[in-house]
């Protein structure tokens, strides 16, 4: 049982939950994730450990509500409980010893890249973060990342920071030179674009793959991704891989496997909420 001790809305569809999980808080390392199951009947879903407070015995999960399971999770309030939190899973990030790293975050990927930026900064690596969102209200983790180094914010509509996509800012930074590694985490098209962009510069580029998972321990093979033509399991061999070797097309395609079910589940959830709201109104009217 893992109680929620804090809840913050970070953007219109991104919420931070601080959850009790003392063992994981104590030993987790950047790049690792947990598998979360809300309760009986719920799905097992992977979420990155965005932050941890070993003294308080808590971890932070930053969740983008895009479907049934993530909506159910962010509907929890402080005091609510998540039944299962298993981890820490996946390989920790291989961190640079020194030099200059660029951390690129798209959408909720910014929360995934944050613990990496923080750890790099702690060991003396220079960090430049490039983060983006549709408009100002969608930008998350700017303040936290500023504590780790420079931050370039990009918005699609130009309402805040630089106008345009994170890839454009990344190109400028690469042009300026002196970059030892790029970490790029976000939607598949964004990670692919970043990897293509850095390839001609020969800059090592690490991406975090969000393959569909069940167990997170290597026993199902559902999370298989193709790296340099060889199958690997994102949950145990990753989730971070060399972006120049990832078959992004395959990943994007496999992520659509359950699209029909996902839309159906979301529709059913919304219908149920509507029914509940109507029932409540009726009850209040009486």
């Amino acid at each position: 049982m893992h109680p929620i001790v804090e809840k913050t809305q970070l953007s219109p569809n991104v919420t931070r939950l601080v959850v009790t999980a003392s063992r994981i808080a104590e030993i987790r390392r950047p790049g690792q994730f947990v598998i979360v199951r809300l309760g009986p009947g719920a799905e097992r879903i992977p979420l990155t450990i965005a932050d941890a407070d070993p003294a308080a015995g808590t971890i932070s999960l930053v969740i983008q509500a895009i479907g049934k399971s993530t909506e159910d999770l962010v509907a929890l309030e402080v005091g609510g409980v998540i039944q299962d939190v298993a981890g820490p899973l996946g390989k920790p990030t291989e961190l640079l010893e020194s030099g200059h790293a660029v951390c690129v975050g798209g959408g909720v990927g910014t929360a995934v890249v944050y613990p990496i930026a923080q750890a790099l900064h702690d060991r003396g690596v220079r960090v430049t973060s490039i983060i983006g969102g549709r408009s100002r209200e969608w930008v998350i983790f700017e303040e936290e990342l500023r504590r780790a180094g420079d931050v370039i914010v990009c918005t699609d509509d130009g309402s805040y920071g630089r106008h345009g996509f994170v890839t454009e800012a990344l190109k400028d930074v690469c042009e300026a030179g002196g970059i030892d590694e790029v970490f790029a985490v976000g939607p598949v098209p964004m990670m692919r674009a970043c990897s293509e962009l850095t390839r001609p510069y020969g800059i090592r580029t690490t991406v975090s793959l969000n393959a569909i998972m069940v167990d997170g321990t290597g026993m199902c093979g559902g999370c298989r991704v193709s790296i340099d033509g060889r199958n690997q399991y994102a949950c145990v061999d990753g989730p971070e891989f060399d972006g120049h070797q990832v078959d992004f097309k395959l990943l994007a395609d496999r992520l659509t496997t359950y699209r029909e079910f996902e839309q159906d589940a979301l529709r059913r959830r919304h219908e149920e909420l509507l029914r509940l709201a109507e029932a409540r109104q009726l009850a209040e009217a009486h």
Partner: protein, 557 residues
């Protein structure tokens, strides 16, 4: 709800029993039904007439009542419905209670079969249950999933001239009775020994060891990677063969006996084995062989290709058979399952129940070599599962959207026997053909999952990555024992349980300082050129309950 076949009684459906020459078979049957002994209520013995050997020989094997194939292929209810009390006693009366019972030799854990059957034929189910539970910790499970036809029933004397005694059916009957009547069975908590034991993995090996160790008063914590305990019994074997409430009841019974279950604890990640060893007086590693094997043929990354592990886990553990469940599963109209073992049969029959019009087994040898339990093959055939024997897949064909469209195969013929003694399939050139399919499930076995072993440098593995143990199931790490599939490679439930029982006995001896040191040496000791004594070690004194490693409040799951 499962439905009983209507019309004829199971006894009458037995072709042997129905034969007019079997005449007196009706005698004992009539007697059995004329004696309304009701052990179902109290288990108290009711006086029964003693049959002569000749009379026993005349009783034909009783058929297991089962759901009709047409009906059950559309639901997940259990196929076998279990013998009634009358059928069970009648079947028990077929046992000759041999002075030199071969059946005991046929059972990997040497269940005293004539003893429990003897009590049963006297109508004393309670004594039968006490005897059975003494030998076998999970008889509800083995009565349903043991390959009896190659074990106890294979060597039953009655099998020489007809059908063997239905030992599995009787085991199931007695075990189910015991589960319903726990209150009538002796219980009692032993005095606490003050020793702590960690068990890694909650499959049949881990659960059996947990029960045995708790009986001896040790404080046991079972660490399980998944959110629920049971191992393959829970996520692998489907509901229609092994109802999950049975597995849960067994787990509940352990919890009631004082065993703590720590779910969501992945050893190798949440804790390492060396950490557990520091916090507990002994550790039993029973993590199974959980890694799926793929075919490494083109098209395996198409949408609609599953490992049997993933397919069965989604359906069984995550409840995806229920349309209301949050976990999705692709429901194919045409499903091809590659493999011929129990796992393949479970996957194909699950696909059938999820609505596949055509569900096929693709197997490279012939029917005679199918490694699955005979009953599963028989049930699959009744459920109109299609079998493509002597067939090997070479490629999975996809459509332009990345979905599976078919399975391209070649035919094989059988050559000389290979190392396993089975005839080796040889591909026939030019025999390519495509089986239309929208789902392909790969059920070709499993391997060691390196998650735990790769974080335990002192653990000696064999060349296939399985853990090496000595005769007492000791590993190369002092105080660490292992058994089940992680030692044997994918084997059976009863072998895993046998290991659990042996390991518990060894651990108990170890904790009393009475076990000789392991003969398996640490890989590091050998590397460093040290003597084997490096791995020997006396048990440490009892330590404080492991506050750091044991989760604050281990919960029953």
């Amino acid at each position: 709800m499962p439905e009983m076949p209507t019309g004829e009684t199971p006894a009458a459906r037995d072709p042997e029993a129905a034969s007019p020459t079997s005449g007196p078979a009706g005698g004992p049957a009539a007697r059995a039904s004329a004696t309304p002994a009701d052990p179902g209520a109290t288990g108290a013995p009711a006086p029964r007439p003693v049959l002569t050997k000749k009379e026993r020989m005349q009783i034909q094997r009783q058929l297991m009542p089962e759901q009709l194939a047409e009906i059950r292929a559309g639901n997940f209810g259990e196929v076998n419905l279990g013998l009634t009390e009358q059928l069970a006693i009648l079947e028990a009366e077929r046992c000759l209670v041999c002075p030199k019972p071969y059946c005991i030799d046929g059972c990997p854990v040497r269940v005293n079969i004539p003893k429990f059957i003897g009590h049963l034929m006297e109508g004393d189910v309670r004594s039968a249950a006490i005897s059975l539970l003494d030998d076998n910790a999970l008889p509800c499970v083995t009565g349903r999933v043991c390959p009896q036809e190659t074990q106890c029933e294979a060597v039953c004397l009655r099998g020489k001239t007809g059908k063997p005694v239905g030992i599995g059916y009787l085991e199931r009957y007695v075990a189910d009775w015991a589960m319903e009547h726990r209150d009538l069975l002796p219980a009692g908590r032993p005095a606490a020994s003050g020793r702590t034991v960690a068990i890694v993995g909650s499959g049949p090996a881990g659960l059996t060891a947990a029960g045995e160790l708790a009986k001896r008063g040790h404080a046991v914590t079972v660490f399980e990677a998944f959110h629920a305990a049971g191992g393959v019994l829970l996520y692998g074997i489907p509901e229609f063969r092994l109802p999950k409430d049975i597995v849960q009841a067994e787990v509940d019974r352990l919890v009631a006996a004082g065993v703590a279950i720590a779910p969501d604890s992945i050893i190798g990640k949440t804790y390492t084995l060396p950490e557990l060893r520091e916090q507990f007086d002994a550790v039993f590693v029973a993590v199974g062989a959980g890694l799926p094997i793929f075919m490494n043929i083109p098209g395996e990354n198409l949408k609609g290709v599953y490992s049997a592990n993933e397919y069965l886990t989604r359906v069984n553990l995550m409840g995806a058979w229920n349309p209301e469940s949050d976990t999705p599963i692709l429901k194919g109209k045409r499903v091809a399952v590659v493999g011929g073992g129990n796992v393949a049969m479970d996957a194909v029959r699950t696909a059938r129940r999820l609505g596949a019009d055509e569900a096929a087994i693709v197997y490279r040898r012939s029917r005679a070599e199918l490694p699955a339990r005979a009953e599963e093959v028989h049930h699959a055939e009744q459920e109109e599962i299609h079998f493509e024997f002597l067939t090997v897949p070479v490629r999975i064909v996809g459509d332009d959207q990345g979905w599976v469209a078919g399975l391209e195969c070649v035919r094989t013929e059988l050559g000389e026997p290979d190392a396993s003694g089975r005839r080796r399939p040889i591909k026939i050139d030019g025999s390519e053909f495509v089986i239309p399919a929208d789902i392909v499930i790969v059920a070709l076995g499993t391997r060691n999952n390196p998650l735990l072993t790769s974080t335990s440098p002192d653990l000696r593995l064999n060349e296939w990555g399985y853990i090496q143990v000595d005769d007492n199931l000791q590993t190369s790490m002092p105080g660490v024992f292992s058994g089940g599939d992680i030692v044997r490679g994918a084997a059976t439930v009863i072998l895993a349980m046998g290991d659990g029982k042996r390991a518990a006995a060894s651990i108990d001896a170890y904790l009393r300082g009475e076990l000789p040191p392991s003969t398996v040496t640490s890989p590091r000791a050998t590397e460093a050129g040290e003597s084997t004594e490096a791995s020997a070690g006396a048990p440490r004194p009892a330590v404080e309950p492991a506050a750091k490693v044991a989760p604050a409040a281990p919960t029953a799951v």
